[in-house]
C-alpha cells in the first residue's frame, strides 16, 4: 500500500516501487501494479536503448554516454521553457512553474530536438569519424570521456543542484484507477504517456526504416558499409543522421522522464545504465529488440525492487542479463554474426 501511495504522489517519486513485501501474502494486485509501472518506465529505457542501437548499427560504436547526452538535452529543454516564459533559467533557484501548457512544452521539445540533431551530427563528424580506425576501447573511452565532459559542463552552467522539472499539463491529471480501492491498480496519465510515446516512436521508426529511401539506405549501411558506399550511399552523412536520430530519441526520453527524475547532473546515470543493459539484452543490433529489452528491464527492475528490496534491484537485473547473454550471446532478438578473417 505504501508503494502505491509513493507512486501516486508527485514529489520525488522513486524509479520503482520501493516497499519490500516480506512476510506478506502474495498479491496479484501488487504484482500487476509492479508490472505496469515497469512497462511504463521501461519505455523510457527503451527510447534510450533504441538510440544506442541506432548508433551501434550504423557506425559500430557503443555510445556509453547516451544517458549523459539525454541529461544534457533535458537541461536544454528546461532552458527552452525558461526562455519561452522569460525566466532566467541559469540562476540557482529559477522558479519555473510546476506545470506548463502545450505551447511551452512543445516549444521546449522543439528546441531540444534541434540541439539534439545538431549535436548528434557534430559528435559523429568531429568526434567519432577520426576514430573510425581505432580500437573498440578507444571509441568506448571517447564516448565515456565525452559523457564525463558533458557532466562537468552541465554542473558548471546550471550548477549541480536538484531542480524540479515542469510537468506537462495534459498528463498531470488524476490517475486512472482500476478496481475498488484496497485492490485497485493505479495508473497515472504520465505512465500511460511514457508507453504511448514510446510505442508511437518505435512504430514511426519502423515505418522510416521500412518505407523510406533514407531508411533503406541506413539498413543497407548497417548490413555492409563497404558495399553501401559502392552503391553510392553517402556513409558519413548517414552516420550523422543516425546519431541525430538517436539523440533526438534521447531528448524525448529526457523530457518525458524529467518530472519523475528531477533535473540534476546525475539524473540519467542509472537510467543510462539500464538502457544500455536493455540494448544488449535485445541484441544490440535490433530495434524491436531494444524496445522489448527496455520493457523487460523495466519489469524486472520493478519486481526485483518490490520483492527483494532496493538493495539488490540492479544486481538482479544484471544477473538476468548476464545469464541471457551467456545462453544467447547475441541477445534476445539479435542476429548471429559470423566473423570472417
Amino acid at each position: 500500500m505504501t508503494a502505491l501511495a509513493i507512486w501516486a504522489t508527485t514529489t520525488q517519486p522513486p524509479l520503482s516501487v520501493v516497499s519490500q513485501a516480506t512476510g506478506q501474502p502474495f498479491s496479484w494486485t501488487i504484482f500487476l501494479q509492479s508490472v505496469i509501472n515497469g512497462i511504463s518506465f521501461g519505455s523510457i529505457y527503451a527510447l534510450l536503448a533504441m538510440g544506442i542501437v541506432l548508433i551501434y548499427k550504423s557506425s559500430d560504436v557503443v555510445n556509453f554516454a547516451q544517458g549523459q547526452m539525454a541529461m544534457f538535452l533535458t537541461y536544454i529543454a528546461y532552458s527552452g521553457m525558461g526562455l519561452i516564459l522569460g525566466i532566467n533559467f541559469l540562476q540557482p533557484h529559477a522558479d519555473l512553474p510546476a506545470r506548463v501548457g502545450w505551447g511551452v512544452f512543445l516549444g521546449a521539445i522543439a528546441l531540444s530536438l534541434v540541439v539534439a540533431a545538431l549535436m548528434g551530427m557534430a559528435i559523429e563528424k568531429f568526434m567519432l569519424r577520426p576514430l573510425a580506425r581505432s580500437s573498440v576501447l578507444s571509441q568506448v573511452l571517447a564516448t565515456i570521456g565525452a559523457g564525463t565532459l558533458l557532466y562537468g559542463l552541465v554542473s558548471w552552467i546550471w550548477k549541480a543542484e536538484i531542480r524540479p522539472f515542469p510537468r506537462f499539463e495534459a498528463v498531470a491529471g488524476r490517475p486512472v484507477q482500476l478496481g475498488t480501492p484496497p485492490d485497485s491498480i493505479i495508473i497515472t496519465l504520465e505512465a500511460i504517456n511514457f508507453l504511448v510515446v514510446g510505442l508511437i516512436l518505435s512504430f514511426l521508426l519502423y515505418l522510416f526504416f521500412r518505407f523510406t529511401m533514407v531508411g533503406t539506405a541506413l539498413r543497407a549501411m548497417a548490413q555492409n558499409a563497404f558495399a553501401a558506399r559502392l552503391m553510392g550511399i553517402n556513409v558519413g552523412r548517414l552516420n550523422g543522421l543516425a546519431w541525430a536520430l538517436s539523440l533526438m530519441l534521447s531528448a524525448i526520453a529526457g523530457v518525458l522522464a524529467g518530472p519523475r527524475l528531477q533535473l540534476e547532473p546525475n539524473m540519467m546515470t542509472d537510467v543510462g545504465v539500464k538502457a544500455f543493459a536493455a540494448a544488449v539484452l535485445g541484441g544490440m543490433t535490433s530495434l524491436p529488440g531494444a524496445l522489448l529489452g527496455g520493457l523487460v528491464i523495466g519489469i524486472i527492475d520493478n519486481l526485483a525492487g518490490y520483492y527483494l528490496g532496493n538493495g539488490l534491484q540492479a544486481s538482479i537485473a544484471f544477473l538476468i542479463i548476464i545469464l541471457v547473454l551467456v545462453i544467447r550471446p547475441n541477445g534476445l532478438l539479435g542476429k548471429t554474426i559470423r566473423k570472417k578473417v
Binding site: V62, R133, V136, S138, A142, T148, L149, F318, I321
Partner: protein, 370 residues
Amino acid sequence: MKWQKIQQTASGKYTRWVLIIAGFTALPWIITVLPFFGANNYTYSQLNLWLILAIVCLGLNLLTGVAGQISLGHAALFQIGAYIGGYFVARQGWPVWLVIIVAGLGTGIAGLILGLPALRLSGPYLAVATFGFSVAIPQLLAGSQDIAELYSDPNELATKIGVLTVPKQNLPGLKADDDLGRYFMFLLVFLIMLVLALNINRSRHGRAFYAIRDSETAATAMGVALGKYKLLAFIVSAVYAGVAGSLFAFQVGQLDANSTSFSVLASILFLTAIIIGGLGSVWGSVLGSAVITILPPFISAVNDTIKAAFGSSIENFESIFYGLLILIFIYFMPNGLSGAFQRLRMRYSSDPSKGPATPAEPAATDLPVS
C-alpha cells in the same frame, strides 16, 4: 665517460634494477619538489594510493591492453580484494603478508567468475557483463544484511551496513599512522607485482595474450587455446586487483561499500589511467596511475583560481578535466605516455633497430568484416 657508455651501463640488467629500486626508494623525498606535495603525511598517503592504483593498472593493462578484453568490472574486483583483506585482518587477525596473498587468490577466483561470460562474449556485450559485475558487487556487500553480517562489526551493524573498519597496517615496529613507513611496505609488494607483470608480458602466456588481442581467429589457428587464455588473463588481472584492494584496506582503515572508490566510476578511472600510460605497456600503467594521482591538487588549485577570478568555483570541475584528458589522449596520443617516450627514445637512440618493446596495435583493415 661517454654518454653511450653511461647508457649501456644503465641498461645492463642488474644495474637497471638497482637504479629503479633506488629511484622508487628516493621517491618520497624527490616528490617534494612538486608544488602541493610537501614532506607530510598527505604526500605519503598519496604515494601509497598511487602504488595501489599502479598495481590495479598493471593487472588491468594485462587484461585490456595485452589480452584485449575490455573490463568495466575492475572496481568490483578491487572491492572484493579490499573486503577479503579487511575481513581477515580485522575479524580473524591473520598476519598481514598472508592476508595479502589470500586476498589475491580469493579475488582471482572472483576473476574466474567474471571471466566466464568472456568465453562467449566480446566487445560491447563483454563491457555490459563486466559493467553489471561492477554494479552488483557493491550492492551485494552493502545492501544485503546477510552478507554484511559476515564482515561488519556486530556493534556497528545496525547503523552502518556495508562498512568494514580495518586497523591500519604497517611494517613491523612502525606506527599505524606512519604513511612513509607504509610506503616501503607497499613498495615491496608493488615491485614484486611489477617484476611479475614484466615477466608475464614476455612469457609464452604473454605472447598468447597478444595473439588473442590481435586476432582471435588467427590465435586459434595457431593453436592458442582461446578459452583457457582468456580465463587466465581474467584471473591474473583479478589477482592484481585483489592484492591492490587488500593494500587499500590497510591504507584507508575504513571501507564503505557504497563509496566511489568501488563504483563504476573507479573502473573508468582505472581505464583512464592505462589509456594515459599506454595500452599494453607495463611502465605505462605505472606512469598513467602517477598522472591520475598527482592531478587532484592541481585541479583544485585551478578551481580555486577560477573562484578567485569569477567569485564562484565550478562544481564537479574535475569531470571537465578528466573528460578532456581522456579525449586528448585518445585523439593526440593514442599510445599514451609510454608511446611518446618510445618515440623519443627511437629518435635519439644510438641503436634505432631497437623497436618498441611491446608489439603495437595492428592497423584496422580497410576491408569490410561482416
